[in-house]
């Protein structure tokens, strides 16, 4: 084997464990799902093997699915915007703090040491009828009856923000941390106020991090089913809950497969549109 071919093969050799894992654990099961989505579940509960478009027909035409898909995307979008607004100042603070940066980053990672489900359920103890917030209001005499604060769209968004905020902060932090602080000084020296320097220099240079964090929050938010299950009411189901319902509760794998592929296709299309219109490639070119 010549040196050239060895050098050409080396990246593939190094990548092979990851590629094998992706192929076996992601691609192959995905193909199974695709196949399943064309089967049909009969009234007797057995799956009928074949090529039927019934599941796809139902998933694409039933307004029930369309409405839940739209509300799922809306919840994910609101969550992403709230995360961006709350996350940016925090990320800026961490990136600009001296000395205690490591501690702040550790604090940011700390929630990951606790299960996501437990973190989500903790809101029941805070906002529930006999939770901390109601007890406080009762003991202060502000209310005389506990208020039902849980099980609505707002608490679903609250739970999602709680879950996704660290991802947003980390992504923004990484891009802010890479920006030379002299750039702001240079902008100030040329006549820009602190705020103008931020808008003209720091913000545009941190957009790749904001965009990456936004994408991550949106996709993770739109694909979640635990948060609406724990913190949402019966009418707050998100699209992944429908998949869960079809596959786990009704054991209707063919319909569940079609629904999950539909969500995958919608999110995939949104990612591509996002990538294209945020002009991230162009921005990267400017940064060299």
């Amino acid at each position: 084997m010549s040196i050239e071919t060895r050098e050409a093969r080396q990246p593939w050799i190094l990548l092979s464990p990851a590629l094998a894992a992706v192929a076996l654990l992601l691609f192959v099961p995905l193909m199974f799902i695709v196949v399943y989505s064309f089967w049909l579940r009969t009234a007797t509960g057995a799956d009928q093997v074949g090529f039927y478009l019934d599941n796809w027909n139902e998933a694409l035409t039933d307004p029930f699915y369309r409405d839940i898909l739209i509300s799922t995307l809306r919840i994910a979008a609101i969550t992403t915007i709230v995360c961006a607004i709350m996350g940016y100042p925090s990320a800026y603070f961490i990136a600009r703090s001296r000395g205690n940066k490591a501690i702040l980053l550790l604090l940011l990672m700390l929630p990951f040491w606790i299960s996501y489900i437990i973190r989500t359920m903790s809101w029941i103890n805070i906002l529930g009828v006999s939770g901390a917030f109601n007890s406080l209001l009762l003991s202060l005499g502000i209310i005389s009856e506990p208020i039902q604060m849980l099980y609505n769209e707002a608490t679903v968004i609250l739970g999602l923000v709680h879950f996704l905020l660290p991802f947003m902060i980390l992504n923004i932090y990484v891009s802010l941390d890479g920006i030379d602080t002299n750039l702001e000084d240079a902008a100030n020296s040329l006549g820009a106020t602190k705020w103008e320097a931020f808008l003209q220099v720091t913000l545009p240079l941190s957009l790749p991090g904001l965009a990456a964090g936004g994408l991550l929050c949106f996709v993770l938010g739109a694909g979640t089913y635990i948060t609406p299950l724990v913190l949402g009411g019966p009418r707050d189901a998100m699209f992944a809950n429908l998949v869960f319902e079809a596959i786990i509760t009704q054991l209707n794998w063919p319909l569940g497969s079609a629904l999950s592929l539909m969500l995958l296709a919608v999110l995939g299309a949104l990612v591509m549109i996002y990538n294209r219109y945020l002009g991230m490639a162009q921005l990267m070119k400017g940064l060299g």
Binding site: A187, N188, S189, L190, A192, P204, G286
Partner: protein, 358 residues
């Protein structure tokens, strides 16, 4: 453009004093260099003039007006940073135009001013490129263009050449001086490089450990160092502890070890009084001779060559005189003296300087 005055400026970071009380007068239109090793407070001074740091005590005046409470964006300064600090997401032309947007420059005039600045730094055709597409030297020129296009009161240069490689640095040195001369802007230049300071400055401020050691023209600080630190920092010097025996209008008589009595003329003897004194002998002024050569009018001593550091046009010798090692840098025509050879070292009395103290 304007003068800059520092009045009893002090800067403390917690318990650490970065700048001890400092007074400095930078006249309008001059090129002043703050020279010193890292940690001497030169950059702290520059950042206080810029408004990037607030002085703990004292006053800063630009054009006779106190600016302590004027924020940086209202000081109308041009700053060139060591790492260029060009905005990577803006084109060269947008970078240069940045400061003009915050001044009352009519939109129609901006392009013309940007082009004039690019012409001045001799990069007329790079306006639509991104900084990353330029070399380090080109980026530094753009940073300079961006700083001067706003016609600043004062131009502040924070080690602008130290990120460039040696040849480019020397070219940029000439270039920077030409541009400064052409636009006549008051310039404060910070460097640790003595040859940059000597080549470019009208006035050099030598700093050490937060204090000003000496203020003077390049030839002043070079030929008549005011302290041992200055003598050592600007080139190589031999410093011999001696005794001032006599002082009169012509100068002082200094009894130095190895060389005996040396008559130092008064313009090189500064404030030296009778008592302990030091003889400062620049390595370039100490010449090696064959033992047989006549050395009339020179102060001489017999020596032995210990180390020869040959550099082509010049050679650096370490010679032993008695039990002291001295350094000499001589121009040579052909072959240097061999290591171990016995020579005579000598200097003209008017080429050395005297310092007070033991």
């Amino acid at each position: 453009m304007s003068s800059v005055t520092l009045k009893n400026i002090v800067k403390r970071f917690g318990s650490f004093t970065a700048v001890h009380p400092t007074n400095l007068e930078i006249p309008e239109g001059t090129f002043v260099t703050l020279l010193g090793p890292s940690g001497c407070g030169k950059t702290t001074n520059l950042r206080m003039i810029a408004g990037l740091l607030d002085p703990t005590e004292g006053e800063i005046l630009i054009g006779g007006k106190r600016v302590n409470d004027v924020p940086i964006h209202k000081r109308n300064l041009g700053i060139v940073f060591q790492n260029y600090a060009l905005f990577p997401h803006k084109t060269v032309a947008e970078n240069v135009a940045f400061g003009l947007k915050y001044r009352d420059v009519p939109k129609a005039d901006i392009a013309g001013k940007v082009q004039a600045a690019l012409d001045l730094v001799q990069l007329p055709d790079v306006g639509d490129r991104y900084p990353k597409a330029l070399s380090g030297g080109q980026q530094q020129r753009i940073a300079l263009a961006r700083a001067i296009v706003v016609e600043p009161e004062v131009l502040l240069l924070d080690e602008p050449l130290s990120a460039l490689d040696a040849n480019l640095r020397e070219d940029m040195r000439v270039e920077l001086k030409r541009i400064q001369h052409q636009i006549g802007v008051t310039t404060v230049f910070v460097t640790h490089d003595q040859s940059e300071a000597l080549a470019m400055s009208d006035t050099i401020v030598v700093m050490s450990a937060g204090r000003v050691e000496q203020v003077g023209s390049p030839s002043d600080v070079y030929n008549t160092p005011a302290s041992e630190f200055v003598a050592n920092f600007l080139g190589a010097s031999n410093i011999l502890a001696g005794h001032c025996e006599q002082k009169d209008a012509q100068g002082v008589v200094l009894d130095a070890p190895l060389f005996g009595k040396v008559h130092v003329p008064s313009d090189k003897a500064g404030q030296v009084q009778q008592g302990p004194a030091k003889l400062v002998l620049r390595a370039e002024k100490l010449t090696l001779f064959d033992e047989s050569t006549a050395t009339d009018g020179l102060v001489t001593a017999p020596a032995r060559v210990e180390t020869v550091d040959y550099q082509g046009q010049t050679v650096r010798y370490f010679v032993r005189v008695g039990d002291t090692q001295l350094q000499a840098i001589n121009m040579i025509d052909d072959t240097p003296f061999a290591e171990g050879s016995a020579v005579t070292v000598g200097f003209r009395p008017q080429d050395c300087a005297a310092l007070q103290g033991g």
